[in-house]
């Protein structure tokens, strides 16, 4: 009897040892990256959808329940999730994923941040002290993040070190090749003047050389106002732009308004995995982003 019980116990325990890592990904791009790096070794829950404004997420009961059993949290950081993550972390009572522990991964820590404000004043709108958090629009940023995330997976699940190393090496190689391809495709975009709905694309601009001349939001996070749109339209008479960009989750009306009056195309970008039907994974995200930008040129 004891032997049977012992065997059962061993089975249960060993079941746990081989169980995949439970990963709580804050945004779809980090779910996709974790999928690339961890393959079958991770159960990934994605907390937010591609059509949600990532600034306006709520600490829903489901998020707290999912965070309770997570071994790894993969988020942007840089205060993007500050509106809901503190509640989720506190209520989940899960010490594995609290800030400072190995299970708490913030992608923004591994890239050079842009638009770090020299002064913090809410009169400037929705500015983040650590810099602009929309780091996922520059494909190059995924290289150091993937490297750090892969090391974190190994730290949490050393039994599968070889598996993670092999997947990371494969991703790194494919991604570098893809970046070279995208940069070649995007060559005509260099120096192209654009208008954006929200300051969501500084990393994309930095990468592809797009030149941002105006935003439709009067201040980051504030609604585009009629007065401000008129002003942008006036400025465009002096300094014409080639297109107006917005993320898939943003309301199309302000860009359509500018598009009609300034006679420039309104281009919707997926912004993250799932933002458009073509952006099915990280590769699709950038393939589609560049196709849409190039289409906007014509």
């Amino acid at each position: 009897m004891q032997r049977i019980l012992g065997t059962l116990l061993l089975l249960l325990l060993s079941g746990n040892v081989h169980a995949a890592l439970n990963v709580f990904a804050c945004e779809p791009e980090w779910a996709a990256l974790t999928q690339q790096l961890a393959g079958s070794q991770a159960n990934i829950y994605t907390a937010t959808g591609p059509l949600q404004d990532p600034h306006q997420v709520q600490a829903r009961p489901s998020l707290i329940a999912k965070a309770r059993s997570a071994q790894l949290l993969v988020c942007t950081g840089a205060e993007l999730e500050v509106g809901w993550m503190p509640v989720v972390l506190r209520e989940s009572t899960n010490s594995n994923i609290q800030p400072g522990s190995a299970g708490h991964f913030e992608a923004a820590k591994y890239v050079a941040m842009l638009e770090v404000p020299s002064r913090l004043d809410r009169a400037d709108g929705d500015v983040h002290a650590a810099g602009n958090p929309h780091i996922q629009t520059d494909a190059r940023n995924f290289l150091p993040i993937a490297d750090a995330l892969s090391k974190r997976l190994i730290e949490l699940d050393p039994a599968n070190t070889a598996y993670y190393q092999q997947r990371h090496a494969a991703f790194d190689q494919q991604w570098r090749a893809a970046i070279a391809k995208w940069e070649k495709q995007a060559a005509p975009l260099k120096g192209v003047a654009i208008v954006v709905h929200h300051k969501g694309f500084p990393y994309l601009n930095d990468w592809l050389g797009l030149h941002e001349i105006a935003e439709l939001e009067p201040k980051p996070g504030m609604e585009p106002s009629a007065a401000h749109l008129e002003k942008v339209l006036g400025d465009l008479q002096q300094h014409p732009a080639r297109m107006v960009l917005r993320a898939a989750y943003q309301n199309e009306r302000p860009s359509e308004w500018i598009s009609e009056r300034a006679h420039i195309p309104a281009v919707m970008l997926p912004f993250t995995v799932g933002g458009t039907p073509q952006a099915t994974d990280l590769f699709g995200l950038f393939d589609d982003t560049i196709q849409r930008l190039l289409a906007g040129l014509h």
Binding site: Q58, A65, V82, E223
Partner: protein
């Protein structure tokens, strides 16, 4: 909904300069130094009737009525930080017109693990849905009638709370509180042991990406000792100045439900939320009735079961504008009054207080809100009241994330 605070660091920067330490970190609202925030809030209220008159049949309950004219409302100063890796501290002070009072001051554990969460100090009880929300997060200027009469607006407790979050995909949380019995209906009687207990359970989940919900049940128990109700003319035409005093058990059970919907789950553009709560209280004990000031006291059995509910909906129809509608209803119940007091105390009011409230608010950003509220108040028999409120709620500093 002041959902997200992007720069929790405006104050941290100030502190950082003075303390020579400043960490730029993380998704937590901690950033090395304590998070500090100040909610500036104020109300203008216009009522046709004296707000001090309680709802019919609830004269023994408190009446946290709104102030006529201009008032500071629920301005609030808050501080929160991790104390060390094991404990987190949280305190809010409400700034009333002439004083500052300690609204919350509690310590919470961070590392118990296994889904356990222990809190001790002064806190808003986790019963119901609205009880834990701070005034600046309310969708209307005031609380529902059922909260006003059953919890004196909000149940505050000095005590301990233990919660357990089940390791399930669906949100399942159960918890209990023991406390001093500091907040109404507790009578804050000095005694060893606890003066009140609360039990609660919550479940919740998503339906696709667009809908989410939470439902809960709760129970509250306390023994009321010499619970005074002054200026309670229970019998119409009783001269003023008499008082009731109740000694007995108070048991309350509640149900709460909230459902939220946003197209594509995108709360930025549009959303709807619908919520409803129901509470039922049985008071069983002795009522001591003073027939006139200094006169003979008459004590006899008193049992009453009272209940109340509300249903409300808020619709954000564009990013900066929201509107909401709320319906309140109370049932004073039919009291069993002992023979000695049968002539002094009304047992059946045969009136159900109700109220209908409409609001619209403008939110330039998630940190500022200006609200108009119109009310048709039929909570007092024969005294219908039309009310108008104007309110501002502005939040400064590192004001942490809100609960669901």
């Amino acid at each position: 909904m002041f959902k997200k605070i992007c720069s929790n660091t405006a104050f941290a920067v100030l502190l950082g300069h003075s303390l020579g330490a400043f960490a730029h970190d993380t998704s937590s609202d901690n950033a090395f130094n304590p998070a500090l925030w100040l909610i500036l809030s104020g109300t203008y209220g216009n009522m046709q009737r004296d707000p001090a008159i309680p709802a019919t049949g609830f004269a023994m309950s408190p009446n946290p009525a709104q102030t006529q004219g201009f008032s500071l409302g629920e301005s609030e100063l808050g501080v929160a930080a991790d104390i060390d890796p094991e404990f987190r501290g949280f305190a809010t002070f409400s700034i009333l017109s002439a004083s500052i009072s300690v609204e919350n001051a509690f310590v919470q554990t961070s590392t118990l693990g296994n889904g356990l969460n222990l809190k001790f100090g002064r806190f808003f009880s986790s019963l119901g849905y609205l009880n834990e929300q701070h005034a600046h997060a309310w969708d209307f200027v005031d609380q529902p009638l059922v909260y006003n009469t059953m919890w004196n607006s909000q149940l505050i407790e000095d005590g301990m709370q233990l919660k357990w979050l089940a390791p399930t995909d669906m949100f399942v949380e159960v918890g209990g509180e023991v406390g001093r019995g500091f907040g109404y209906p507790g009578t804050d009687t000095p005694r060893n042991g606890s003066g009140a207990t609360v039990l609660f359970a919550h479940i919740g989940d998503d339906i696709g990406i667009e809908q989410s919900w939470r439902a809960g049940i709760s129970a509250h128990q306390t023994r009321q000792t010499n619970a005074q109700s002054t200026a309670v003319p229970d019998l119409l035409n009783t001269p003023g100045g008499v008082s009731d005093s109740f000694n007995g058990n108070s048991n309350t059970a509640g149900l709460d439900f909230i459902w939220k919907y946003a197209p594509n789950g995108n709360f930025r553009e549009r959303y709807v939320k619908v919520q409803s709560e129901y509470f039922r209280r049985r008071q069983d004990g002795m009522l001591t009735y003073a027939t006139q000031p200094g006169g003979a006291n008459i004590a006899d059995r008193y049992i009453d079961t009272q209940s109340g509910w509300y249903v409300q909906s808020v619709y954000q129809f564009m990013p900066t504008w929201r509107t909401g509608l709320r319906y309140d209803r109370l049932d004073p119940g039919v009291a069993t009054v002992g023979a000695l007091n049968a002539g002094n105390v009304i047992s059946n009011y045969a009136y159900t207080p109700s109220r209908i409230t409409w609001m619209a608010d403008y939110n330039a950003s998630e940190f500022s809100r200006i609200r108009l509220q119109l009310v048709r108040d039929n909570s007092r028999q024969g005294l219908p009241d039309n009310q108008l409120f104007l309110q501002y709620i502005m939040s400064m500093g590192a004001h942490g994330a809100h609960q669901y």
